[in-house]
């Protein structure tokens, strides 16, 4: 808590002293009274005790929002003392909204002043406790008391999700041949998909005897293949800048697109929700993207860790940020037989997603 006279107090006090000097020279009694009144204003203003120590602030927010979304919130100032709090300026430094100021009417002892308002979530991120600065110079603007209070609240702001329809989700080399695909589709999974003619190589246990008897030709059961290669979204070398924001948005968009395409998604990237999110849901993808933060980890380390975790059947989408030194990571992935898609953000005028083998 700090207390400091305002510049206005200095000016008024100087005027008061000047009047005293004039009164002394002019022997003008009423001028002494006038100057005493002016100085009385200053002294009473300076001696005013604002009792900001008894004030507490709460901020109520929804748990999640999206960049650009209007968020309804409620801010309250509670007066824990028995005396009245003066009129206040409430500067909320909650960075999700870029900070904003409120004014509070005087709050009676034990009372609470509240306001409900809507602010736009300006940027992606996970926003936790932030400072609220209470200040007042009541009643005359001559002595300012300021107190900074840390207010607990959390808001996860998801990045914008852009349309990435048609994005070429990578497949591992083992699943790209028709033969292998056909083999996989005939029994690896549990879900019954249909019946087809027997092909050489089909196992006998796959034969659908009822259809074979009815048609007189060998027919085999066909199952859905659940083992479509998971997509690993890797964001490494993340920078907290405009490019980083676009990368977070693109990574979340691609991950959601992959989920829509029934591909399991694993997310790798340093953030508020950990390095790795395994088999992420849509919400987890968005939270992960919201929480992305800069780190010193290298892209190849992330890729190596993903290999250790999910094996060769991973398909990688690598988001290049920072200095663009993804080559070691790509080489590592390719060496291990993984499909790799590289997304490299370009200038604002160009398409933000670019693919490379």
């Amino acid at each position: 808590m700090s207390r400091r006279p305002t510049a206005k107090a200095g000016t008024v006090a100087a005027v008061g002293v000047l009047l005293v000097g004039t009164a002394t020279t002019a022997q003008a009694g009423w001028l002494f009274v006038l100057s005493a009144g002016v100085l009385g204003l200053v002294v009473s203003g300076v001696l005013t005790w604002h009792r900001l120590g008894a004030a507490s602030v709460t901020r109520s927010l929804p748990a999640r929002a999206r960049v650009g979304e209007d968020v309804s919130l409620r801010v309250s100032v509670h007066n824990a003392s028995g005396k009245r709090l003066p009129v206040l300026r409430v500067e909320d430094r909650f960075t999700a909204f870029g900070g904003f100021a409120l004014a509070s009417e005087s709050v009676p002892g034990g009372g609470t002043a509240t306001v409900e308002l809507t602010r736009t979530a300006l940027r992606r991120g996970v926003f936790d406790d932030s400072d609220v600065v209470l200040s007042t110079a009541a009643p005359f603007g001559l002595m300012r008391t300021r107190r900074t209070i840390s207010v607990a609240s959390r808001l996860v702001v998801h990045p914008l999700v852009i349309d990435v329809s048609g994005f070429p989700l990578p497949e591992t080399p083992a699943t790209t041949s028709d033969e292998a695909l056909a083999a996989a589709r005939t029994g690896a999974g549990e879900v019954f998909a249909g019946v087809r003619d027997y092909r050489p190589g089909d196992q006998r246990r796959w034969i659908h005897w009822r259809t074979t008897a009815r048609t007189g030709r060998l027919a085999v059961r066909e199952h859905e293949d659940p083992a479509r290669s998971p997509i690993v979204i890797v964001v490494a070398g993340f920078e907290d800048d405009e490019v980083g924001e676009r990368v977070a948005s693109a990574a979340a968009s691609v991950a959601l697109y992959a989920l829509d395409a029934a591909r399991p998604v694993h997310c790798v990237g340093h953030g508020r929700f950990g390095e790795v999110v395994d088999n992420a849901t849509r919400l987890q993808v968005l939270d992960w993207a919201a929480g992305l933060e800069p780190s010193d980890s290298r892209a190849e380390d992330a890729v190596a860790a993903a290999f250790r975790r999910w094996g060769r059947r991973c398909s990688f989408v690598l988001f290049e940020t920072g200095d663009g030194s993804l080559r070691p990571a790509i080489d590592l992935a390719v060496r291990r037989g993984a499909a790799v898609q590289i997304v490299r953000p370009v200038s604002e005028d160009e398409e933000p997603v670019e693919t490379a083998a």
Partner: protein
């Protein structure tokens, strides 16, 4: 040019508060009214200024947002300001005294206020206007002499406090997204007038202002003297002729309207009270006796002033200088005075001590004894100034003066009529036996008279043919200033010490607010001047006392003066009064000690550790609950958990749901804040428990 002006306007946010504008306008109009009341602005001009100010403030509000033609307004206002300043300097050339500059200065400030009134888009402009209004009040304060100014002062400060409060609210809310209110309504603050905020500030401001005024040194720091009025076409008309005493009666009873001593002769047989009419206000750098007439010759009943036909003009035009031949020497203190005559006075110049320089619009003559006379009586409204000097040598220095016979022109102040019996001289010698110096003899006689004679305006009148002084000293033992002064002068003359009686007014009551000495009819007085070799005339007052010119802290700091006066009144109140005063003092001390003890207790309570960072309403409510326990004498023990403390209180004061404690723990220790509805319930429950703890013995 246009662009520059437009950019300048754009940087300031337009002020939307009509209340703030009205408060500032109120302060300016109060300053205008105060100036009008003291005659610095004529009534028609004041009405014109009022209309223009109203128009200007309305214009400023309507066009507070930047306009494409705003630069035209600024150019017009600038040109008008140049005209106003030119007129001001033109008026300055016609002035005779520095003091007269206050009137054109007041008009210049008003013109600036009016012009600025058309260009008040932002709060900063309004603050400037508010500051300028103080200049109007300051000019009015230097001109005001009576208590009517107090009304303007109260109204002015009411507007200033409202304007400052509204300005601060505007500053707070200017860039705020919304106003928070206790009832949860958004945005009403902009329209709400802060009556309660201003009301709560009235008492502290009044107390602080009064205390500062009481502690403020009000001595005269500068010896610079500026004539506070215009002499006009001063004419040195001949002032010869006798003293005219308006209201003075004849016979042995006072008329009650004017002091009979303001005449060519002072009749020691006249008795009677004087009225309490205000006769003049004196602005003086020091308190003094305002001497008007000098009496030199005593004939057993009358003291006679100088021959009116022998008065000599002091000069052709003001300022008039006191004749060098009549001037006293030695260490002197300077006293600047200006007299504002409220009731008709004799045709004499009242002045402190020796009037060295006189500014009076008419002619002035000096009589043979050094009295200063004017051609006609001083009518109400007459203003004149005098710079005087008064002998300031202390008694020790006067004792060192050589004991030598007075020069020839002082011999007349040793003469005594045959009517004075020898026993008067014998009494004087017996009183001063053992005193070797003149000053000690004077002091001894003063002391003797004060101790042995009573003061009464209705003392016995001497029988016909009886010497007035002898009758007072040996028969009546009762008298008033004339008897005391006459007895002193006659006894001193019998000791061959030159002395004379002078008449005028005592210092009067100093109005602490206006700073003027208010002199009334009843302050008419007679006292003594004693001549000392080389140093000349010194004043002595055997009836009361001559006020000190410097006065020390008692005069310059009102609080010290008030305490001294209180102390004197207690000292003079006798045993019963002193006992009452002692009882009141003890009671006040006990009250102050109790208040201090309570404040100390409150401070100890406030000295607790602050609420932890991020503490919410439930934590604050729990702190109140702890305070309630402490107040009730059952404080929370150091090792007692919150749950145990609540359970202990709940056992004694009724049940309490577990939810409140859970919410407290969530708010205090949980990663996310509790739900709002839970917070409200928990605060309510904890406060209910706190009330129960406090209210139950």
């Amino acid at each position: 040019m246009k662009d520059v002006l437009a950019r300048g306007s754009a940087r300031r946010l337009p002020e939307d508060s009509i209340a703030l504008r009205a408060a500032v306008l109120g302060a300016v109009l109060t300053g205008l009214a105060a100036l009008t009341s003291v005659g610095a602005v004529s009534l028609p001009a004041a009405l014109l200024f009022t209309v223009l100010l109203l128009a200007g403030y309305s214009f400023s509000y309507v066009y507070r947002h930047p306009t494409s033609w705003g630069w035209v307004v600024k150019i017009v206002l600038t040109l008008a300001a140049i005209v106003a300043v030119t007129q001001f300097f033109g008026a300055l050339r016609q002035l005779q005294t520095v003091d007269e500059a206050r009137f054109p200065l007041a008009n210049l400030f008003l013109a600036v206020q009016v012009l600025h009134g058309f260009d008040l888009p932002a709060r900063k402009d309004l603050n400037f206007s508010l500051g300028s209004s103080l200049a109007l009040m300051a000019i009015a304060a230097t001109l005001s002499q009576d208590m009517a100014f107090a009304f303007y002062l109260v109204v002015y400060f009411a507007f200033v406090m409202a304007a400052l409060t509204l300005s601060h609210r505007s500053e707070l809310g200017g860039s705020a997204a919304a106003w928070m209110t206790a009832d949860g309504k958004t945005d009403p603050g902009r329209a709400r007038f802060p009556w309660d905020d201003i009301g709560r500030a009235v008492l502290p401001v009044t107390l602080c202002g009064a205390l500062i005024f009481m502690l403020m040194p009000q001595s005269v720091a500068s010896q610079y003297f500026a004539l506070p009025f215009s002499l006009g076409e001063g004419i040195g008309a001949d002032a010869a002729g006798g003293i005219m005493n308006p209201g003075g009666g004849s016979g042995t009873r006072s008329s009650g309207e004017a002091y009979h001593g303001f005449d060519d002769r002072m009749d020691l047989n006249v008795r009677g009270d004087l009225g309490d009419q205000l006769v003049m206000r004196v602005r003086s750098s020091a308190p003094a006796m305002w001497k008007g007439i000098v009496f030199g010759e005593y004939d057993g009943r009358y003291w006679k002033a100088a021959d009116p036909d022998a008065a000599v003009p002091a000069g052709d035009a003001p300022p008039y200088q006191y004749p060098v031949g009549l001037r006293s020497l030695g260490p002197r203190v300077r006293i600047s005075q200006t007299y504002y005559v409220e009731a008709e006075q004799p045709n004499v110049i009242f002045a402190a001590g020796q009037p060295d320089t006189i500014w009076y619009e008419g002619g002035v003559s000096i009589d043979a004894l050094g009295g200063v006379r004017t051609p006609s009586t001083l009518t109400p409204g007459t203003v004149y100034s005098v710079v005087s000097t008064r002998g300031s040598a202390p008694a020790e220095e006067l004792r060192e003066l050589p004991q030598e016979p007075p020069p020839d022109h002082i011999e007349r102040y040793l003469e005594l009529p045959d009517s004075v019996p020898d026993r008067v001289g014998e009494l004087a010698r017996s009183i001063t036996r053992g005193e070797s110096t003149d000053v000690d003899k004077v002091l001894a006689i003063e002391d003797y008279l004060r101790r042995n004679y009573e003061y009464s305006l209705d003392s016995p009148v001497p029988p016909a043919g009886r010497d007035a002084v002898d009758h007072f000293l040996f028969d009546a033992d009762v008298g008033f200033c004339e008897q005391f002064a006459s007895a002193t002068a006659v006894m001193l003359r019998s000791l061959r010490i030159p002395a004379r009686v002078v008449a005028g007014y005592a210092v009067g009551r100093r109005n602490a607010l206006s700073g003027y000495y208010e002199v009334r009819s009843s302050d008419a007085h007679a006292w003594v001047e004693v001549w000392f070799p080389n140093y000349g005339w010194y004043e002595f007052d055997p009836t009361f006392a001559i006020p000190k010119a410097d006065g020390g802290l008692e005069r310059s700091i009102p609080l010290v003066g008030a305490i001294s006066a209180l102390w004197r009144s207690v000292r003079d109140a006798g045993p019963l009064g002193q006992a009452v005063a002692a009882a009141i003092t003890v009671a006040l001390a006990a009250f102050a000690a109790r208040a201090g003890w309570r404040a100390s207790r409150r401070r100890r309570g406030r000295g607790r550790a602050p609420l932890p960072p991020g503490a919410g309403p439930v934590t604050a409510a729990f702190r109140r609950f702890e305070d309630a326990l402490a107040t009730a004498g059952r404080p929370r023990a150091p090792g007692e958990t919150a749950r145990e403390a609540v359970a202990r209180a709940a056992r004694a004061h009724g049940p309490m749901s577990r939810t409140a404690l859970q919410v407290f723990e969530v708010e205090r220790y949980g990663p996310l804040p509790p739900r709002d509805e839970d917070v409200a319930t928990a605060v309510e429950e904890l406060d209910r428990l706190s009330r129960a703890v406090r209210e139950t013995p």
